[in-house]
Amino acid sequence: MVRGGRVSGWATGWATGWRTGWVACAAVFLVIGVLTGGGCTKKEAAKGDTYPVGLVFDVGGIGDKSFNDAAYAGLLRARDQLGIRFEYFEPGEGTDREAALRLLASGSSKIILGVGFLFTDDIETVAREYPEKLFACVDYTWTEGKQVPANLVGLKFREEEGSFLVGAIAGLVSQSGTVGFVGGMDIPLIHKFEAGYHAGVLSVRPDAKVIISYAGVTGDAFKNPAKGKELALAQIDAGADVIFHASGSTGLGVFEAVRARNKLAIGVDSDQSAVAPDHCLTSMVKQVDVAVFDAISRARDGTFAGGILSEGLKEGGVDYVFNEGNARWITPPIRARVEALRKEIVEGRVTVSSGR
C-alpha cells in the first residue's frame, strides 16, 4: 500500500481536475494490481525443523530458461538434499528489490539471496541493517576498495575464462576468419565476456577479425531481439560466420539471424542449443545453480564466510558445452586444443584479462 500511496500522489500532481485525478488513480491502481499479480511470492510448506531460506529473483523470474531458472534449480536441489524450506519473490519491473529483501530479512529466513548484479547496492544496505542474518548476491559487482559487510558473500564468476574458451572454439571453427560478439548493455559485467572472447579468438588465430557490437546502454538492451538480429546480420554481412552473444533475450535475435543465414552462434549462461539446434556451436555456461546451492549449504553448515567468492574454470563455475550435438563442429583436434588451453588457465600459466 505504501507503493500505491506514493504513486497516487504523483498521479494527482499530473492531473488537472478532481475527476481526472480519480480516474487516473483508479487506472494506476489497476496497473499495480496487474504488475504485482505478475511479480508474486511463494512459500514452501515447512516440514519439521528445516532451515529457512529466502531468495529474490532477477527481472524475468522463474521460467526465463536461463539465469533465474538456474538459481531456482539450485534452490530446489538444496531443498531436496539439505532439507531446507524456502520463500521467494519475483519482483516485477521497477525498484521493489530492496523492499523484497527487507521483507525476507525481517521474516524467519536465515540466509537471503539476491539473484543478479542489480541487487548489489540494495543487498549491501539490507545486510548492514540485519547483521544477524546472512546474505548472498549472485553476480555481485565489487569495485576496488569497497568494504563488503561480514554477513554478505558476493558470488562472482570469472566469465572471461569461459568466454576465452568459446572464443578459441570460434576462432578454430570459423572458416572466414571473422567472428562476432553481440553484447547487451554496454557495462563492465558484459565487457568481461567480450574481453575473454576476444583474447580467446586471437590466442588460436592471431590474424582473425573480431567484430564487437552492443545493443544499447540501458537495461532494455537485454531484451531487444529485433536489435540483436539486425546487429548479427550486419556482422554476417561483414564476413562473420560465428557470433557469441552475452545479451539476454536480445540474443534470441542473434540465433534468428544465424538461422536465416546459415551461420553459427554461441549461447550464454545456460545451454542454448534448444533455441536453434543446427546453429548453436556451443554455450558459455555459468553454474549459477551450483553457486546458489553452495552458498545455502555453507550457511547451513555454519561455514559461511563473508566477502567475495570468485568461481572460474578451476572451480567449475564457468564452462563451455560439449556433447554429441555439437561434436560435428568441435572435432577431436579442436577439442584437444581447447582442453589444453583450459589446463593452462586452470594451472595459472595463462591469465585472462577481465577488461578491455
Partner: protein, 321 residues
C-alpha cells in the same frame, strides 16, 4: 560491394518498418487531438497477439489479424479513458503501457510457461519468385545465394514479405485518408478546432475515438512485424519503439509519409551505427539522435513543427472550446 550496399538499404528498411507503422498510428490519434503515449503498449500487445494468434491457428495471416485486434483493444481502452471519461491523456497512455507490459508477461507464463519468450513459429514463407532469383538462400538455413539476384537478396526478401507490402501500402493509404477524404478533414478538425466540427453536427467524440482506434490498427501492425521478424514473442520486445515513433511523427509534422521518412532517417542512423566499428561513434550519441532531432524540430530549427491546436485537451460540449 553492391551486395553490401543493398544489404544496408534492406536493413534500414527492416528497422524502419515498425517505427513508420507506429508513427502513422500516432499521427491518426494526435491529428484528432488525443496524445498517444500508449503506442509502446499497443506495439507490445500487437506483437503478443500476433505470436499467440499464429501459434494457436498456425496461420501468420490470422496471427497478424490477432495482433491488429490486440492493438485495437488497447487503443479502445485509451479511447474510452481519454475520449469517453475525458481523463488525462498522457497518464492513460502511461498506465496502458504498464498494463500491457504486465499483462503480456502474465499471459506469457499462463500460455507458454515462460517469463521470457513464446515458442518459435515459422511465419510467412517468402514468395516463391524470390528463391528463383537468388538460388536457395531465400529458404532460411539454405546454402549461400548463388543466383543472379544474390546481391539483392535482402531487398528481394523484403519485397516478398507480405507484411512489408501491406505496411507500405497502408502508410500511403493513411496519407490519402488524412489529407484527401472527408473523414480526414473531420479528424483534423477534431484536433484543431473541435467546436467547429461540433457546430457542423459531427460528433467530436466519435471522430476522435476513430482516430485512436486507427492508431491501434497501425501500432498493432508494427508489433506484428516485430513478432514475425523474430518468429516469437519475447518479454518487452517493443523496446521503446513507441517513443521513437512518436518522435518521428513530430519530426514529420503529424503527416504519415513525412513521418515514415523521418523513420528512415532514424533507421539509417541505427544501421550505420551497427556497421561502423564499435567505438567510432559513441552508442549513446546515436541513441540520443531521434530525440535531439525531435527537440530541434519542435524548437523550429528543422522546419516548423506545430502540434494540432487542441492536442491533449478533452473536448467538452458545455464549455464549447
Amino acid at each position: 560491394m553492391i551486395g553490401l550496399a543493398t544489404a544496408f538499404v534492406a536493413q534500414v528498411l527492416r528497422i524502419s518498418v515498425p517505427y513508420a507503422l507506429a508513427a502513422t498510428g500516432g499521427a491518426f490519434s494526435e491529428r484528432g487531438g488525443v496524445i498517444n503515449i500508449g503506442l509502446e503498449g499497443i506495439i507490445l500487445a500487437g506483437a503478443f497477439g500476433t505470436a499467440a494468434g499464429t501459434l494457436a491457428t498456425g496461420s501468420p495471416w490470422l496471427g497478424v489479424l490477432f495482433g491488429v485486434g490486440a492493438g485495437i483493444l488497447i487503443a479502445a481502452l485509451h479511447a474510452a479513458i481519454t475520449v469517453g471519461a475525458k481523463a488525462d491523456q498522457i497518464l492513460s497512455g502511461l498506465a496502458l503501457n504498464l498494463l500491457v507490459l504486465g499483462g503480456t508477461r502474465g499471459l506469457l507464463r499462463l500460455l507458454y510457461d515462460s517469463s521470457s519468450n513464446s515458442p518459435r513459429f515459422e511465419g510467412f514463407a517468402p514468395l516463391a519468385y524470390v528463391a528463383r532469383f537468388t538460388g536457395d538462400a531465400a529458404v532460411p538455413g539454405g546454402a549461400a545465394a548463388t543466383g543472379p539476384g544474390a546481391p539483392f537478396e535482402g531487398l528481394l526478401l523484403l519485397v516478398g514479405h507480405p507484411l512489408f507490402l501491406l505496411g507500405a501500402g497502408g502508410i500511403i493509404l493513411a496519407q490519402v485518408l488524412l489529407f484527401g477524404t472527408g473523414f480526414g478533414l473531420s479528424l483534423r478538425a477534431a484536433g484543431d478546432g473541435p467546436r467547429a466540427l461540433d457546430g457542423a453536427g459531427i460528433s467530436v467524440s466519435r471522430v476522435r475515438a476513430a482516430g485512436v482506434l486507427l492508431s491501434g490498427v497501425f501500432g498493432g501492425a508494427a508489433g506484428a512485424w516485430l513478432a514475425l521478424e523474430q518468429h516469437m514473442f519475447t518479454d518487452g520486445m517493443s523496446g521503446g519503439r513507441g517513443y521513437i515513433a512518436l518522435a518521428a511523427m513530430i519530426v514529420g509534422k503529424w503527416r504519415p509519409l513525412a513521418g515514415a521518412t523521418a523513420c528512415l532517417l532514424f533507421g539509417a542512423a541505427e544501421a550505420l551505427q551497427m556497421r561502423v566499428p564499435s567505438g567510432v561513434i559513441p552508442t549513446q550519441f546515436l541513441q540520443m539522435l531521434p530525440y535531439v532531432v525531435t527537440i530541434l524540430a519542435l524548437a523550429g530549427w528543422i522546419g516548423r513543427s506545430t502540434a494540432p491546436a487542441r492536442l491533449g485537451e478533452p473536448y467538452d460540449r458545455e464549455e464549447g472550446r
